[in-house]
């Protein structure tokens, strides 16, 4: 390998199975999160996404207690919580947020119990950290089939909902007038949202899942005008952040020789997503500043 490339990709990076699994799982999760995330942002359901992510801590810790894989725990918890939200979701403008908040509180209560029991019976404090903040390099290749199955389900669901979902997301009034069952479409989307949350939680941790879910989509919305392009951009941004995060985390192993440990992947991924969001706002801000400077005859006067 040439010298500059070797400086970026540490020796053994491309042959490491851990890296390959992390790259595969995170890319698949990023595509699902980009697809679902664009609708989350349009529908203003970020809070539901965040809440389901937090609640999947309950599922993850429960699965750990029962000796099952965390992905299944995340999935079961998120889907169950979204179903309860939908059931108690009151038909008022703010009813949705109330239902979300109530379910979030109850779910996290259970997580407190499960995490306590985990520490009693398994005597592992690391489990909590990897659950909440993710551990992409700890994912085994055996979980890839389940990740792909979950992803396919979520993407097929969003694709099948397609146009009715888009119209009811931008205007429930227009959708209802066309006979679209707005409530039913919303419930089906919530299921896709729950699956996306489970995948994001599996990839970068339950608490950080919302970053992968909402961040790339919010960035994509600043750069694109059509729904299809927004989804494609959100997926691409998510993949870029995850892969770059993996590279940096892998490299960080050598940053402090004495530590013998690499920095968490999730830290890099979330930070990159955040930086990307900030950067995407720059062109607009510059344009506005240039416009205001052009229209202002004495810009220096404003400094005082």
């Amino acid at each position: 390998m040439s010298q500059p490339l070797a400086a970026i990709f540490a020796p053994g990076f491309f042959t490491s199975q851990i890296v390959q699994v992390a790259a595969t799982v995170s890319a698949v999760a990023a595509v699902v999160c980009g697809t679902v995330g664009v609708f989350i942002v349009i529908r203003g359901q970020s809070f539901a996404g965040e809440a389901l992510g937090d609640i999947s801590t309950t599922g993850g810790s429960g699965a750990f207690l029962a000796g099952a894989g965390p992905l299944w725990g995340f999935g079961v918890a998120a889907v169950a919580a979204s179903a309860v939200m939908e059931l108690i979701g009151i038909q008022r403008p703010r009813g949705r947020d109330l239902a979300t908040g109530i379910v979030l509180g109850a779910g996290l209560g259970l997580a407190a119990l499960f995490l306590y029991l985990d520490s009693v019976y398994h005597n592992t404090t690391g489990a909590t950290v990897s659950l909440v903040f993710g551990s992409m390099f700890a994912i085994t290749s055996s979980s890839i089939p389940a990740v792909i199955a979950f992803s396919a389900l979520a993407i097929c669901l969003v694709a099948a909902l397609g146009r009715p979902l888009l119209l009811s997301s931008v205007s429930p009034e227009l959708a209802a007038a066309r006979g679209i069952p707005v409530r039913l479409v919303g419930a089906a989307f919530l299921l896709a949202l729950a699956i996306a949350v489970a995948l994001a939680a599996f990839t970068i941790g339950t608490i950080l899942s919302t970053a992968l879910l909402v961040g790339p989509a919010a960035t994509a919305l600043r750069m694109t005008r059509s729904p299809a392009r927004a989804i494609a951009a959100a997926a691409a941004i998510g993949i870029a952040a995850c892969w770059l995060g993996i590279v940096l985390s892998y490299d960080s192993y050598d940053w402090y020789h004495q530590s013998g440990k690499s920095w968490p992947v999730s830290f890099f991924v979330v930070t990159l997503i955040f930086l990307g969001y900030l950067l995407s706002g720059l062109p607009q801000r510059l344009r506005r500043r240039r416009a205001s400077v052009a229209s202002d005859p004495a810009p220096a006067a404003r400094l005082s």
Binding site: V38, I42, A159, A160, L161, G162, R163, P164, L166, L167, V170, S171, E173, L174, A175, A176, A177, R178, G179, I180, A220, L221, R222, T224, R225, S226, P227, R229, A230
Partner: protein, 281 residues
């Protein structure tokens, strides 16, 4: 002109003895009127008169007593004969939905799955954008458009499925005078060119007077319908409001002014006696 239409001159919309109770309040009472194909009708009434409720009844979204026939058949959800422009439409400027996307959704939003990029679909959208003069902002996000532009896009969204009846809920409410005139002129042109009946609600009738064939006046949950001359008269509106109102002509504009308290014909309707001046100008 209506005899050239397939349903042979039958009304496109027949509303008969429709009553609606919402939370114990009688919002509509024995409302009856009909609209012929290609007719331009103004649905006039102050805020809370039941205009939106009446639209929801016609769209099959609101339970009601009485009968509503659309194109001769009972009302139903997802009636392809009806196009609808809601009053409430708000999109953030960052929502990735272009004008052409929203117009395209008018064609097939009720179908599940993703729209295939067919050339015929694109051509229909292009044609519709042209018809409402929206090609200039076809690729702009809908949320960044002005109120008048958004109304034109919504009209295109409603018209692209080739309805026979277009319902517009207060399309002029948030528009400046000029944009309002443009929208009204556009609707009048489309209604006559494509023989589409238009039912347009407004709390102010004057901007519509030059183009409407008939008027449906809602007050106190009841309706009077006919030509403007037949309906907007002191005797008819006084009976409708349940108290005396004067219909005045001022510089070609019509003002409806509540009468003196002593002239009340029916004091049971407190909602209206409290209004010192009811101007529908």
């Amino acid at each position: 002109m209506s005899d050239v239409l397939p349903n042979g001159g039958a009304p496109i919309l027949a509303v008969d003895q429709v009553s609606v109770n919402l939370a114990g309040r009688e919002v509509l009472r024995d409302v009856r009127f009909s609209i012929e194909p290609g007719e331009f009708t103004g649905l006039i009434g102050s805020n809370g008169a039941g205009k939106t409720t009446l639209f929801r009844v016609i769209l099959g979204l609101q339970a009601a007593h009485g009968t509503v026939l659309v194109g001769g058949a009972p009302r139903s959800r997802r009636n392809p004969l009806i196009g609808y422009v809601p009053q409430k439409f708000q999109l953030d400027p960052d929502v990735p939905l272009r004008t052409r996307d929203l117009v395209g959704l008018g064609l097939d939003a009720h179908r599940y799955g993703i729209a295939l990029p067919l050339r015929t679909r694109r051509a229909r959208v292009e044609e519709m954008l042209e018809a409402v003069d929206a090609r200039g902002f076809a690729d702009a996000r809908v949320g960044t458009l002005s109120g008048g532009e958004q109304q034109r896009v919504l009209i295109a969204h409603a018209l692209i499925a080739a309805p026979k009846l277009l319902l517009l809920d207060e399309p002029l409410a948030n528009l400046d005078l000029r944009s309002g005139h443009e929208v009204v002129a556009l609707l009048a042109r489309i209604a006559s060119e494509q023989q589409i009946a238009v039912l347009i609600s407004a709390h102010e009738m004057n901007p519509l007077l030059p183009v409407i064939d008939r008027i449906v006046y809602l007050a106190g949950g009841r309706a009077a319908s006919g030509t403007t001359e037949e309906v907007v008269r002191t005797s008819v509106l006084s009976a409708l409001y349940g108290h005396h109102v004067d219909v005045l002509q001022v510089h070609g504009r019509i003002l409806v002014v509540a009468g003196e308290a002593g002239e009340l014909a029916d004091t049971s309707d407190h909602a209206h006696t409290r209004t010192p001046v009811e101007i529908i100008s």
